[in-house]
Each structure stands twice: as structure tokens, then as C-alpha cells.
Symmetry: C2
Subunit: 255 residues, 2 copies
Amino acid sequence: MNLLVYAFENFPEVEISSFLPETILISAIENNWTWEEGDIVVVAQKIVSKSENRLVNLMDVEPGQRAIKYGKSTGKDARLVELILRESKKVIRTRNGLMIVQHKLGFICANAGIDHSNVKGPDENPESWVLLLPKDPDKSASIIREFIKNETGKNVGVIIIDSHGRPWRKGIVGLTIGISGVPALIDRRGYKDRFGYQLRVTEIGSADELAATASILMGQADEGRPVVVIRGYPYALRESYTNELFRSENDDLFR
Amino acid sequence: MNLLVYAFENFPEVEISSFLPETILISAIENNWTWEEGDIVVVAQKIVSKSENRLVNLMDVEPGQRAIKYGKSTGKDARLVELILRESKKVIRTRNGLMIVQHKLGFICANAGIDHSNVKGPDENPESWVLLLPKDPDKSASIIREFIKNETGKNVGVIIIDSHGRPWRKGIVGLTIGISGVPALIDRRGYKDRFGYQLRVTEIGSADELAATASILMGQADEGRPVVVIRGYPYALRESYTNELFRSENDDLFR
């Protein structure tokens, strides 16, 4: 049993209002990639956000009282803090340079996923532009999936990923922020192991394992490989939503 | 750029005191696998522990006062709790059925990684046997790596993985518990992104991304694919230790 994990080379710079699903299909052709049923397309959040014009100029942001307060306590630019707060449901922890928040989309991450790196705004003052996460990444994923289905006839799955830090362990890892047609979780609770015992904790965070896999090839800096396709996934594809992955507050010992 | 992720089929049942490095090499031959420089061998913790005879019979465990107390508060078998406490530095959180501890090996995980599933003891009462993590998984990894080097002449990396739950997100994912010759972290902090900005948080949890990748093919139940090889890893191999991955308590907002 094997997986092929293939990163498209020479993926073009994504422009604001690029139609990303088409850019992906063109890149597939240029990479001589022939789609098969069950391929899983993993897309870096940054190109999705950029194609959806989620760039914000900090010059245009007026920080409120709360942002000014958190800006002081964390040492972060109060305008950036204002955006972090607007993108969040709840502040979970803060410290110097860092705000851990529950994003409006439901997951917990640093700085609401807002970042400078690999972002260049449309004007002469690129340092002041930042990029928000896509508004509805599950929908972004489903648009890519449907476009590929329409154009090629193949049912594929799509995952949109970002790289997040973690409690307890160093190092950012690729995690799912949007999904369409790939199981977020694989439920093995009904299964028995090799000796016939009932398995206990056996929901597998399968989409996040796929996200981590693709992330190995995407890199973080100037590599420019934001689209990776995984072939050979051993579970059946199904409709799914990112929020399957979120622990409820009651079920979470670490908030 | 691509990765090949290959799971050995028909891996034999690992017996207590099997010499695992040799079992892996024989399985490679049976799978027609030709080793190449830089291959990364990912091995499920369970077969490492079993080959190192880390089975314990709960019948032989006398729970102390602390174990009895935690047993009552969590509803867990006090003998199992006793083993969890012996394997741990510190109890982090508990609730019904669950103890989150800092393992003596340094990482934080549920129930000190002790499990019933896929464990069959040597006698007629298999339900009472549990399996502890390897005593020194970095060393276990390095023994496998050196054996492969000696027998095949190829420098490979080795990761030993287990599947752990996570704060905030549902689903267990493959994580590194032992490593030899693979970078635990990739440090990109000196790098600039595509537009020349300095990257900020850019230690990549690369070994954990590899662990998650292999975990997709290993499965959790009766699949029996405990050894996976990854070819095409895009970073240089280097000497490394699992404890590179551990956040210090000061650096961790979630303990």
C-alpha cells in the first residue's frame, strides 16, 4: 500500500481575483498530472486568501480600546490586534508577541491566522499589508472540488491548510482549515484490533494527517509549492466539514 | 517534487525478544524494497515496545495510595493508574477515564501511552496485559538505523511514532516519540519568504509531519502495517533527538 505525494512545480503567483480553481487545473496540465478518482488536492491557505482578496492594509485599520489594551500588553501593533479581535470569537491566552484566539471559524490558533509573510500588497508600502484567512474555507474547498469535477469528471477531495503551532510541542505543522469531500475524522470505534479487543480512542484525525503530509513538500518560505496532490488515500471519501475536528469547550481540558 | 510513502505488507507478528531491526530488513526484502540514501523508516511504537518486552501483567501490579486515589477519581483500574504514575513525571490533567501526564520521556500524552489494544500477553489471560512505551525510543530508533546502515550501506533516518490526542482538535494523529537521523525540527528562521520578509514563527515540526504521514497508512486496528518508509524528504538528514520537540514549561501556555 502506498501514497504518492506530488507537489506542483512552478505554480504561478496568485493574483487578487485570480480564479484559483482554474489556476490549479492549468498547473496540473503543466505538471502533466492526470487526475484520478480519489485524488486529494491540498491547497495552502495563503493562495486561497489572496485569490479571495483577503488583504487588508493596516493603514486603513482604526484600533479600538480593546485592541489598544492588548497591543500594549503583548507588544503587538494595535491595528493588527484590532484585526485579530475582529476575526476571533474569544481570546484564549496572550503573552508577549502572541495572541492565542478562537477564530470565528471555530479553531484555536495564534494571531487569528493573520500573517505578513509571503504577502505583498498592491501598493508601494507592502509592509503594511496583511492577509486574513478565507471567509469560508470549507466553501472555498468545495468550489475547487466542484470545478475539478466539472472539468475533468473526476471526484477529488480538497483540503485547505495552514501551519499552526501547538501546545506542548515545538514546531508548526500543517493543519486543516477548510475541507470538501475528505473525511475530517475516521471513526474506528466500532472496529476490533488484531486480537479482537474493542478499540478505545480511535477517531483518527485523518484530514490533519493529510495536511501535515502535504505541508512537508509545501515548505514555508520561498519554495512556492502551494498545491500538493495526494494519491492512494486508503479510506473512502465522503462529505465533511472542518468543524468535525473541533473539540467542544466541555470536551477540552486545555482552554 | 514528490514523496513516496510505502507501507510494508504482511509484516510478521512481532514476538517478545524479536530482533526488530532484522525483522524490518527481512520484510523490506519480501516487499522488494531497495533501500536508498535518505529513506525515512517510520515504525509503530507497539512493535518496538513488544520487541523490547515492555508488556506488564496488571495482575502483578500493586497500586499505591496515589494510584488508588486517581483510580477513584477517574474510574480507571488502579493498577493501570499505578503504571501510568510510574511512567510519568507529572500529572497534568485528569477526568473520567483519562489522565493527561508528562511522560518520563518528556512529552505530554494521555495515560502515559499505555494501552491494551493490539496487545496480547504470553498467557491465557490476555485482557490483563498492557504495553508500556519503549524505555529509550531514541535509542531504539538508532539501533534500527545502525543495523540498516551496517547491512545495506545506506544512511536512513528512523522515527518511532505513536498516535496521540490533542488539545482543541478531535482525532488522534501520529506523533514522534523516538528519532534517529531525522531532523525533529527544521529551523527556517533565517530564511526570507518570497517577498523578502523575514519569516517569523518558522520552526517546522518536520518529524511530526512525517509521523502523521506514515500514520495514514499504518491504520489503527487490524491492518498490521507497522512499518512505513518515506522516500523523497526534501531536507537534509541530521542527528537529532525527540526532546528538541518539547516545549519547556515556561514556553507553554497550556499546562
